[in-house]
């Protein structure tokens, strides 16, 4: 189930709110857990067993590691290894096996069976949460969770279950036992949720439509500038889509008394690639830093090894986003950019932020075009168009897309900066009524857009 759906907004959400706040405090974890499992099972019920298995395995291993870390650290390490291996095995089979087996069969290893496996939603997120939990116990950074219910809730909590943020155990440890929701905190959660919904439904979806229209243009209409307009549209789309989802998760967390970490910090205002990745999907990049990069030695090693570490981390980051060569390419692209930034450019760029900001934004935009095209020849064609290969610089169609897409692109650019956020806060406190009315209006527009999605008199593309 996704948050931006009728089922969620008008059936699931009212039910969980009602059940949660009617239930006595002691039963609230149980209520959340039950609804989280329903949320997860909706649409792919069979994977609920995988989820329950994962919870049990990680719960037990957590306790084994915790019991042995003081006196039998080697034994604890062995168990950590097995537990992490188990998680990676599950992730590997369900997420990467179809890709890997296709590749291997493609080079002649026909004996490898091709299994049809659907990707369990959210598996990349909750697996990473579980691994961070186990490692943190081993490192003695957290206390083991003895309550099975609470641990299960940590893994499956529906707000962040399917699209993050990847919540570290220490961030929610106390709240799992005791948390308070005030009306103001609930309202603050509502503010985040609405912001996320607006980003997703009103911005991301329209930008996505613009990108799809440009992406599917016949050869005769393509031009370099049109291709860039499309690339910008996608760049903003993925940001609003993803950060919108994180905002909704954070907002829902607040409504139930949880404080999740920030996942995005205006990444498109970054002045360098390094800073971009400190602002984009923060919970993922810090996970990789904490559990892969630093254990590999980080940068406190010889330059040769450092290069190796960076490339490993970024290849894995790419792979995490999906099983495909394009994701590996996209990850390595960032690895190389970061190395260039560190070893070649570092302080040579001017101290003024704008050149760096613009260059970073353009590089990120280009990167998304590697990310979005799973088919390499399509990728080459599209990226080629961006550099004027096989098409003109601009044509009449470019004008059309400027006229019809400019407004939504400008809105996208504007909402990618902190300017709006600051204004909004000041305005909201000053003018209650207008602010609330605006939020109601925006919510209605979101609902309208969701209803309109079902407005489909000629539905056959659905088959």
């Amino acid at each position: 189930m996704v948050f931006s759906s009728m089922t969620y907004l008008f059936v699931f959400l009212p039910m969980v709110l009602l059940a949660y706040f009617v239930a006595p405090e002691k039963a609230r974890n149980m209520v959340l857990l039950a609804f989280s499992l329903i949320f997860y099972a909706w649409g792919e019920p069979v994977y609920i067993f995988l989820m329950l298995m994962s919870i049990t395995v990680n719960y037990v291993f957590g306790r084994i590691i915790s019991n042995n870390r003081a006196n039998h650290s080697r034994y604890a390490k062995l168990n950590l290894g097995i537990a992490v291996g188990w998680n990676l095995l599950a992730l590997g089979i369900f997420k990467y096996y179809p890709f890997v087996s296709t590749q291997l069969r493609g080079v002649g290893l026909k004996f490898i069976p091709a299994m049809k496996l659907l990707l369990p939603i959210g598996i990349s997120f909750y697996t990473f949460q579980a691994i961070s939990y186990l490692v943190d116990i081993y490192r003695n950074q957290i206390k083991v969770q003895r309550g099975f219910l609470k641990f299960a809730l940590y893994i499956t909590m529906f707000p962040q279950l399917i699209a993050g943020p990847i919540v570290r155990y220490e961030d929610v440890e106390k709240q799992l036992t005791k948390r308070k929701v005030t009306l103001a905190m609930f309202g603050n959660g509502g503010e985040f949720f609405l912001r996320g919904l607006i980003k997703k439904v009103l911005l991301a979806n329209q930008l996505g439509a613009l990108y799809v229209q440009i992406e599917s243009l016949g050869a005769g209409h393509a031009s370099a500038m049109t291709a860039w307009i499309g690339a910008f549209a996608y760049t903003f789309q993925i940001y609003f889509d993803f950060s919108g989802y994180s905002d909704m998760a954070i907002g829902l967390g607040k409504m139930f008394g949880f404080r999740f970490p920030k996942n995005f910090d205006y990444p498109y205002t970054a002045t360098s690639i390094t800073s971009f990745w400190r602002r984009w999907h923060i919970s993922l990049s810090s996970w990789f830093r904490e559990y892969v990069y630093i254990p590999l030695g980080g940068k406190r090693v010889s330059p040769g090894k450092h290069v190796r570490n960076i490339l490993i981390v970024w290849m894995l980051t790419g792979l995490w986003h999906g099983a495909g060569w394009n994701f590996i390419l996209w990850g390595l692209y960032y690895g190389v950019l970061l190395l260039l930034e560190k070893y070649v450019i570092h302080d040579r760029i001017s101290s003024h932020p704008w050149p760096g900001r613009i260059l970073t934004f353009l590089l990120v935009t280009l990167g998304w075009m590697f990310f979005v095209h799973t088919d390499f020849s399509e990728m080459l064609t599209y990226v080629g168009h961006m550099f004027g290969v096989g098409c003109t610089l601009a044509n009449a169609t470019t004008g059309y897309f400027i006229r019809t897409g400019l407004l939504v692109l400008l809105l996208g650019a504007f909402f990618s900066t902190p300017v709006f956020h600051r204004l909004n806060e000041q305005f909201a406190v000053k003018y209650y009524t207008v602010s609330i009315a605006l939020r109601v209006l925006m919510f209605m527009l979101c609902v309208a857009a969701l209803v309109y999605q079902s407005y489909n008199p000629f539905l056959y593309f659905r088959f």
Partner: protein
């Protein structure tokens, strides 16, 4: 002293047992998800005839030529085919059950079915509201060697009965 050692030993044994169970459970689950059940081999045309009687849809049994024309599929390529087509081109109800020789054929058959449905939709869209309703409720059921397309006023009932019949 030895009692404590025993307890420790037993605990370690439990842990080893748990490790084994954890990994086995995962592999069993994967097998459960990925394995294909063996379905019963049935008389395909007879089954389709039987299924066609469940609803009052306007359809009749078609020959291999219609299959070729409408789906681009040659009946000889498959182990068995049962096809009920619409009584007139103003009807939309159809049943096509194919038992493939080789699982690699499944995708192509489903593809052909989808093309057929997409084509039917272009014929009826904007004109035939009832037909569009049936077409939108199309089911593609693939089980083992069976590929089954159901366009019917009660697709669920047909699907249920079909699954019951091939259940081993």
């Amino acid at each position: 002293m030895s009692g404590q050692w025993d307890i420790e030993k037993r605990r370690q044994l439990y842990i080893v047992a748990f490790q084994v169970v954890a990994v086995t459970a995962l592999l069993v689950f994967v097998w459960f998800i990925a394995h294909e059940k063996k379905y019963k081999e049935v008389d395909v045309p007879a089954l389709v005839t039987e299924l066609s009687a469940i609803t009052q849809d306007e359809w009749h049994e078609e020959d291999a030529l219609s299959l070729k024309r409408r789906f681009g599929l040659a009946a000889n390529d498959f182990a068995a085919v049962g096809y009920f087509g619409p009584n007139s081109n103003m009807d939309a109800a159809e049943l096509l059950l194919v038992r493939v020789n080789d699982k690699s054929q499944v995708d192509a058959v489903v593809e052909a079915m989808k093309n057929r449905v997409a084509y039917q939709c272009t014929c009826f869209n904007g004109y035939g509201e009832d037909q569009m309703t049936l077409l939108k409720d199309v089911r593609y059921v693939t089980r083992g060697y069976y590929v089954f397309m159901i366009i019917s006023s009660d697709a669920s009932a047909v699907e249920r009965e079909f699954l019951k019949q091939i259940e081993p």
